[in-house]
Structures are given as C-alpha cells and as structure tokens.
C-alpha cells in the first residue's frame, strides 16, 4: 500500500466524523518563492542562478464535541521551475484527535516535534525531513501514526505506532542545493525486508517541574536519516544511494528557563547505523528586552554541536559552534530577523544563515533568506553545497 492510498482510506474513514456539523473552517496559504544562487553549480546538470516555485497549502479543520474532537486535513503542493523532485505533493496532516481527561488519542497522518535547540533539531525523529523544501530540516513529510498520550500529574507518556515509513526527499539531478553526486532515490535500500512497511515504535515521557521542561524518548525503527552510499545509476553515472537502517535511539531534551536566559540541551545515543554513537546539541538563548529604550528585543544564541563519530560522521555538525542573534521588533507587522553562523572547529568550514520576515497588510507575509557556505574542505559533508550559496525572497498570502 502506498502512502497516498493509505491517506485515501483514512480520508474515507474520516468522512462520517466530518458530517456532524459543529465548527469547520478552511484556511491556508499560497506562496511564490524566488531563489538566486550566486555561483555557477558544481555539476553542469544543475540549473544556473534563478529558480522560481509556487506553493499551496490549504488547511481544513473540523471541531466538535466541545473541542474535544478534531479532524484536520492539510495537503501540500509545490511546483518548482527546475527541479522535478522539488515539484511534489504531500499530505502534511489527515488526522482525527480525541481528548479525554486522562488521555488523548491521535490517529492518522500527523507531524510531531521534539526538542529545544535552534540550529539543529537533533532528537526530533518521528517525521521524515522534506529536505527538498529547505536545508534547515524544519519541513516534514506527514507521518501515518497511532499516538496515545497518557496524561497524569507526573507527566505525559506518548506511545507511537508508526506503520508506514516515508523516504527522505532529495534534490533532483538538476536541483540546487544538491548533494554531490546526486542522490538516486530509486535505488533506496532498507535493512528490513519489510522495507517501508516496517512498523516503527516510539515512546516519550515529557513533563515540566518549575523552570525545567524535560523530555525522555526511545525510538525503534527505520532511521529517518539514511546513510548515503556511493554507487552508479542505470546510465553508469555516479550517484549516492540512500540506505535506511533499523536503529534504536534513546534521547533526552531539557530546557531550563531562568529569567531572560534559556538553557538548552539535546542528547542522544543511537545504535544500528554502522557503529553506535552519541551526539549532543546544547547551549543558551538570552533575550535583552527593549534594547536602546525601544520595544525591540535582541536575543543572543550560542550552541555547541557534537557527534562522537567525529569527521567520519555523515552530519555537518560533528564539532561545531553556532552563534546567532534574533531581533524581534514587536511591531504591528511582526518584523523578525534571525542570523546565525555555524563554525566547524576542525575544518574551519562556516555556514551563514539569515532569515527575516514581515507582514504586509493583513494577509501577506514577505520572507527573506540567505544561506552561504565558506571554507569547507573536500572531506566535510557540507562541501557538497559549497557552490550553492543562495538568497531567497518569498511572498505568502494567508487566507
């Protein structure tokens, strides 16, 4: 059964709920995004400088039973000028939720976020990353699941059964930013003979005590991040072949909120993907409220990212320091800017990131983004993007 057939069955199953009229609503967004890549590509098959794409993401919400039951449907479509892989359709959400005093049951295609850090979402594992959307890994593919949350005074215990696996999306051979050589998704391999039908499990305990928010989780199943193994495609060209191992991952995420200071820590132990390893992301965010007698808030962020596989780690964040500033103008247009620099302590490679947004009128938002790579050595996993510096401007209409 494919992902979309599953979604169709869920939708048909959900129809009886929708017919009980209470409160329902359509909303969503349409957007146009332009990217300009400042350099010519590493591979001549990749497009040169400009790229335009369109996105649509409507959202249908139906609430009844005094808000204790919710049905949500969020399809997503991007049409991209150059990259056929980036032109894609997904069902971000197709879900039914029921809340009682001691538990909540959530069935269907959903998105779940775990973690506290800003420069990397290390422990976040339930959903597959929709990597063609953005390198920041914050866009996720909808994940089919049954999630029961047991809610007690001592905290919340979430149990997840994940019956279907979504493969990571990668830029097509003509796309940018792109791995070098390109990833050939058609050859994707799985450790489990059940392939994407392997049933994955996760459990998470979360609670807060005073200033402390804590999450402890275990995941067993198909690794969301594949290993990328050098190979050749049907025409004999070099490609990277994704291989999805069965892993066990135990993780911890903690935040201490002390006045204007947030202390953050994410840590994990993973086995099953070559040698077992540990990884960590930790740091702080401090906010100066109302700088220079204005209403503008200035946040200072510092994080350290570590992976004990060292230089052989398939991540770009194995021994890296990340520094950032966040400006919140607290104005009517909700103007915000976040700027960050990640420095690799071993290779001196650097990654610069700027994100800014502002509302225009009541329904429009303009977003500006810059991503740039400096000084990556050939052995650095980020070397693959070294000619893919870009600036992005996007306009979104929310309805």
């Amino acid at each position: 059964m494919t992902f979309f057939r599953l979604c169709f069955l869920l939708a048909v199953g959900g129809l009886p709920f929708v017919s009980t009229v209470d409160a329902d609503e359509w909303s969503g967004l349409v957007g146009i995004e332009g990217r300009y890549f400042t350099q010519t590509p590493q591979d001549p098959r990749q497009f040169d400088h400009e790229n335009v794409s369109l996105i649509v993401e409507p959202e249908y919400i139906h609430e009844w039973d005094d808000g204790r039951q919710v049905f949500a449907f969020v399809p997503f479509l991007r049409i991209d000028q150059h990259d056929s892989n980036r032109t894609h359709f997904d069902i971000r959400e197709l879900t039914w939720e029921k809340a009682e005093d001691a538990w909540e049951l959530r069935l269907g295609v959903r998105k779940v976020f775990w973690g506290v850090a800003e420069f990397q979402h290390l422990v976040d594992i339930i959903n597959q990353t929709d990597l063609v959307e953005n390198l920041d890994t914050e866009d996720k593919l909808g994940q089919p699941m049954a999630n029961l949350a047991l809610i007690q005074d001592w905290g919340t215990l979430d149990v997840f059964v994940l019956p279907f696996f979504r493969e990571r999306t990668f830029a097509g051979s003509e796309g940018r930013p792109r791995e070098q050589p390109p990833v050939d998704e058609d050859q994707a391999g799985f450790e489990s003979s059940a392939e994407e039908h392997h049933v994955d499990f996760a459990i998470r305990y979360s609670h807060f005590i005073g200033d402390w928010d804590i999450g402890l989780a275990h995941f067993y199943g198909t690794s969301r991040a594949p290993r990328l193994i050098p190979g050749v495609d049907a025409s004999g060209s070099a490609v990277l072949v994704p291989f999805y191992d069965i892993i066990n991952q135990t993780s911890l995420d903690v935040q201490a909120t002390k006045g204007n200071m947030l202390w953050k820590l994410e840590a994990l132990h993973r086995s099953g993907q070559a040698n077992a390893f540990n990884a960590l992301a930790g740091g702080f965010e401090y906010t100066f409220v109302g700088i220079f007698e204005t209403v503008i808030d200035l946040g200072i962020l510092g994080e350290y990212h570590y992976d004990d596989r060292g230089e052989s780690a398939p991540t770009t964040l194995e021994d890296d320091i990340a520094l950032g500033t966040r400006l919140s103008f607290n104005d009517v247009q909700s103007t915000e800017a976040l700027m960050g620099l990640i420095v690799d302590r071993e290779s001196s490679g650097k990654f610069f990131n700027l994100e800014a947004s502002r509302r225009l009128g009541e329904n429009w938002v303009v977003e500006f983004q810059v991503r740039a790579f400096f000084g990556q050595s050939r052995t650095d996993p980020a070397f693959t993007f070294t000619r893919d510096d870009y600036a992005e401007m996007a306009f979104f209409y929310y309805f």
């Binding site: 909540e104 976020f113 809610i151 928010d213 009517v332």
Partner: protein, 260 residues
Amino acid sequence: MRTWFVLTWLLTLPLHEVLAQTPEEKGLAIAVEEERRDTGWLDQKSDLQMILRNKHGEESTRILRIQTKEVDGDGDKSLTVFDTPRDVKGTALLIYTHALKPDDQWLYLPALKRVKRIASANKSGPFVGSEFAYEDLTSQEVEKYRYQWLRDELLDGRKVFVVEQYPAYEHSGYTRRIVWIDMEIYRPLKIEFYDRKNALLKTLTFHHYQLYLDQYWRPDRMDMVNHQTGKHTSLLWKNYRFKNGLSDRAFDRNSLKRVR
C-alpha cells in the same frame, strides 16, 4: 485567588474600622475587596478583537480567543489563541500567572508543531505589537503591587477611589500606576501608567461594564492610548462565558498542541 489573604482581611476588618487607616492600608483594603468581589467565577471564556491604530490613523486588527481559570492560592491560568492575522492563525500562548515570581509561559507554533517554553521576564514587552504590555493583560493579583490611597473623587459622575500602585514584581516597565476604581462596582475605570523615568506613558480606560451571573462586572471595551507615540489599541470583548467546567487539562501543554 488568595483566599488566605481575604480571610485575614475579614478578620482584621473591625480593627480597620476602629483605627484610622493609613493611606497604604486603605489602598490595600480596596485591592483586597476588588479581588474578593471578583472571585468564584471558576473559569471564563471570551472572544477578543484587538484594533491597533497608529498616529496616522492606519488600523490593523487581531482576533483572539481567551480562556482563563481561577487557581486557588496562585495566579490564574490562561490560554490565548490567535485567529487573525491569518499567518499566525493557531498560534497559542499558555500562561501560568504567579504573583511575584515570573509567570510560566509556553508558545505553540503551529507551522512547526512546536511548543516552546519562553522567557517570561519580559513583562514590559508589547503584546503582538499593541500598546498593551504582557503585564497589563495577565491576571491582577493583590500581591503584585504595593498600594497608596490618594483621594476619593468624581470621575465622569461616578464616585471613585484614586489609588497609586507600585509594582512589587521584577522587570516591570512601570514605576507606578494610578487607578481610578468605581466605589460601587469595585472595578477600574481608568489607569495611568508611568514609565521607568516616571513620565506618563499610557492611559487605559474601561467602557460599558456589564454584569454577569449577578456578580461579575466585565467591560465591553478597553482603550489604551500611548502618549509618547500617539498609538492606540482598543480591545473589544465579546461572548463572555463563565463556569464552563474547564479542568486543568484545558490549560496543559497537550491542549496547547490541540488548539486550532
């Protein structure tokens, strides 16, 4: 609410009547009575339209839903959900108010499905670009201020107490507030806010109080004017509903994620 406080005050009431009250005692007594009269509504839901206007008269509107629950022996819990502007639709803010220690605040970002514990020391920061600071909108506990009664007078034909209040919590943007409290209904009609340099910053006025459940007065409209920037924010309250039977579960991080 602080029932202990109210009880103590009731026990000492005869003493107050015998001895002349100092202005500090009278100011505190008014605040305690104000809170006593507004206790027992258990929980409250309301819809809020927020109209922001700059000095050129340009307007921007936000629509929010707010639900609040009384907590015995501590500040109230509240959950605020945005319906507009559309780009922040579904964004929600969960606040556990405390009298003197910083509030606990969690922000839900629907695009990422992320619940984020946020720094709550920024009580003086503007709420969503409006002229209301966070500290103007969170629940008003007696212990949050020191008090001094100034005088009794008439305001727009109504008898009022005029009381000066000094924030007792950290990180306030104000040195003091002057509050005009209606003697009949024990609710504020006007508040002046003085900034950290003790200059007049803002004036808040309350309009069209309505009586709910024969006991609780709520305004239909609140107008905040910032004298230093010329900006203006109106709050239009609709659909006040009390005693909805909301449990603590309606104010936890799970419900924050379920908000639509």
